[in-house]
């Protein structure tokens, strides 16, 4: 059985109307006979049949409009199993064929025409409303024209071009020369002296910590941790090493913290635009105090996978480079959690402020001798206070406490950390 379908007479023809049948069910037809007349936008065109056979049934009525390819009649060919005539049916037509790479796929992956029109219509509505908002904004603050090159130069030199009242370009537009002048003027004039690097850093720290305090709901926990096992382990290890190879106890504590964090993703990641994104690895930021004032946070990448020796080398290297201003941009910006240590001459304990967009910060007090109860007996012990400040939007005290205990447990078996 072969289906006769509404024929296409041109690519711009989507439908056709069956104006008139010239055959009825039961009629025999031969190849080339005109079986119907089709009404198109250009007028009437005869439709021929391409096979000999007998009309089985007509499925479209006169005057009916149908899509191209829609069935309009059934034709029983003379020898029912005549393979050759319906070879064409088995192959899928060019349009519906889905070849891997062809010129059609370029058009296929566009949305269907009418959806596409719908999208562009409501895009246009959105665009108009956005435009009117921008005009509002622009009216409000004076629109300052600046050339692209000047904008780039201002960014490079750290000049805030918005403070310039006008420029030397057309209609007062700000151009390169204005940026260079502003930069040089700031450098030369003693009164309005250019902020020294230290002052700029202080300003940066100020804005950062105040923002952190304002936005992040901190909660604080603190735990005193016995250090004697770690110290004994280290003194054995450092015994016959030259000073520059010796391991500091802080490196041991950092390593314990980094490994513990592997099981506590809520304390190692980034909170950005209302969304928390845990970090797959621990980039352990540690605060390095600079002799000229201020601190820098350097990140030890993948700290959880480093042995204490390796971690110590990284620590020593980063501190040295930080003090020579040689830290790489990536090292300064990529910490996923931070540790701030008061050092062995500081206070007993320290609570810190989280560095956004991180969600936790540890504070180490100075290792100190104090009485300690072991199996109901008082002994002299060396203890360090480890504090944890964390973001209550992401974690809660209970899991923070379990984290501190995990760190404590790791520090009691120091040889595993080496």
């Amino acid at each position: 059985m072969k289906t006769l379908t509404m024929p296409s007479f041109g690519s711009d023809m989507a439908t056709g109307t069956l104006a008139q049948w010239h055959v009825k069910a039961g009629d025999t037809v031969s190849k080339g006979d005109i079986v119907a007349t089709i009404e198109t936008m250009k007028g009437l065109i005869d439709m021929e049949v391409f096979d000999d056979g007998v009309i089985e049934s007509l499925s479209a009525s006169e005057g009916q409009e149908l899509d191209i390819g829609a069935p309009i009649a059934q034709l029983r060919s003379l020898n029912e199993n005549d393979e050759s005539t319906n070879i064409v049916e088995k192959q899928s037509s060019v349009k519906s064929e889905d070849p891997k790479t062809n010129i059609n796929t370029v058009s296929q992956n566009k949305a269907l025409p009418n959806e596409q029109e719908k999208n562009t219509k409501n895009q246009r509505v959105e665009a108009d409303s956005k435009l009117s908002q921008q005009n509002e904004i622009r009216k409000r603050d004076k629109f300052l024209a600046i050339s692209p090159a000047a904008r780039k130069r201002a960014a490079d030199l750290g000049v805030n071009w918005r403070q310039l009242s006008h420029g030397n370009g057309p209609e007062g537009a700000i151009i390169l020369q204005d940026i260079d002048d502003a930069f040089n003027m700031a450098a030369e004039s003693p009164t309005k002296s250019k902020p020294t690097p230290a002052e700029m850093m202080r300003q940066a720290i100020a804005t950062n910590v105040s923002r952190s305090k304002r936005e992040i709901p901190h909660y604080y926990l603190q735990l005193d941790v016995l250090l004697d096992n770690a110290l004994d382990c280290l003194s054995v290890h450092n015994a016959n090493l030259s000073p520059s190879k010796r391991i500091l106890v802080n490196a041991m504590i950092y390593s314990a913290i980094a490994r513990a964090l592997e099981d506590f993703p809520a304390f190692n990641g980034f909170y950005i635009d209302g969304q928390y994104q845990p970090s797959e690895t621990v980039h352990l930021g540690h605060a390095i105090s600079l002799r000229t004032g201020g601190i820098m946070i350097a990140a030890i990448r993948d700290a959880q996978s480093l042995g204490v020796i390796e971690l110590m080398d990284k620590l020593r290297d980063q501190v040295a480079r930080a003090r020579e201003g040689g830290l790489r941009m990536s090292e300064v910006t990529q910490a996923s959690v931070t540790i701030s240590s008061i050092g062995d001459r500081g206070a007993d304990s320290m609570q810190s402020i989280i560095f956004p967009p991180q969600v936790a910060i540890f504070g180490l007090g100075r290792p100190r001798k104090m009485p300690w109860i072991i199996q109901n007996a008082i002994v002299a012990a060396t203890v360090v206070s480890i504090s944890l400040a964390a973001d209550h939007r992401v974690s809660d005290g209970h899991s923070g406490a379990r984290l501190l205990n995990k760190i404590n447990k790791l520090l009691q078996t120091p040889e595993k950390l080496l």
Partner: protein, 330 residues
Amino acid sequence: MHTNNNKIHMDIAHIKFLFKEMLRIRRFEEKCAELYTQEKIRGFLHLYIGEEAVAVGVMQALMPEDAVFGTYREHGHAIARGLSMDKVMAEMFGKVTGSSRGRGGSMHIFDVEKRFYGGNAIVAGALPLAVGLALANKMQNKNNVVTCFFGEGAVAEGEFHESLNLAKLWQLPILFVCENNGYAMGTALAISESQQKIFRKAQNYGLAAHAVDGMNVVEVESAASQYCHSIRNGEGPCLLECNTYRFRGHSMFDTQLYRDADEVEQWKIKGPIKKLKRWLEANGKLAADELSQIEDEVAEEINKAVAFADKSPFEDVTDLHLGVYAEETS
């Protein structure tokens, strides 16, 4: 087929060959019509049904080294010139295995090995090209004939007059073949040309020219052979006007309001294939089983071509820029 003292003696085997060649074109074009209504072939499709005798007749007079320029109604030219149906069909399917990598479609079939320099969608657009190729042959002392097909519509274009003048001015080895089918799309010859005898226009430019019954393949072949013979003797360009008729519309989307149905029927009776079949049968040279065997062979060749075209891949979009310039070809 052999020509002596330029009187053509046709043996029966050759006449049957002509019959089958015309039938191959006829059935090929009918299959194209079917595939077009099923949206397998897109773009414009101009069928050669009714004019088969012209292409088949003229091609017998050509050598492999001779060149052919077709028109956009070129399937008959291509098949009669010996291009494979597979490549022609694949070209209309837009497939990379097509004669022009699928980039030209029905109106731009190229096959340089067969010296077939394409159809051309600009009416009379190819006439100057043919003149140029003939000029190159002459300058390189190649004694080949360039054949340029065009419809009677082309004679209204300036390029027809410029080309015929250049051809005669430079005594070029070129055979112009005018397929006068009476209509330039919807414009009858009578309402577009003061002088409707196209060969007279050529005679005015000094070309040897005359008209033949374009429905009689034998007459077309003998006329074309005589002209090619004189061209190869250096007697300059010729024009052969073949009075013929297209049984289908200008293209697939044509309501044919410009002519009435019985005129078409009249011409169908004088159709080239029907005429030759009647002659062969009358002389007992074409038995019924032999005819159906020919039909089966033709149908098989066509179905193989459709299958080949259908399963061929499209050109990869990343090759889009290949061939814009010579250096970017691979």
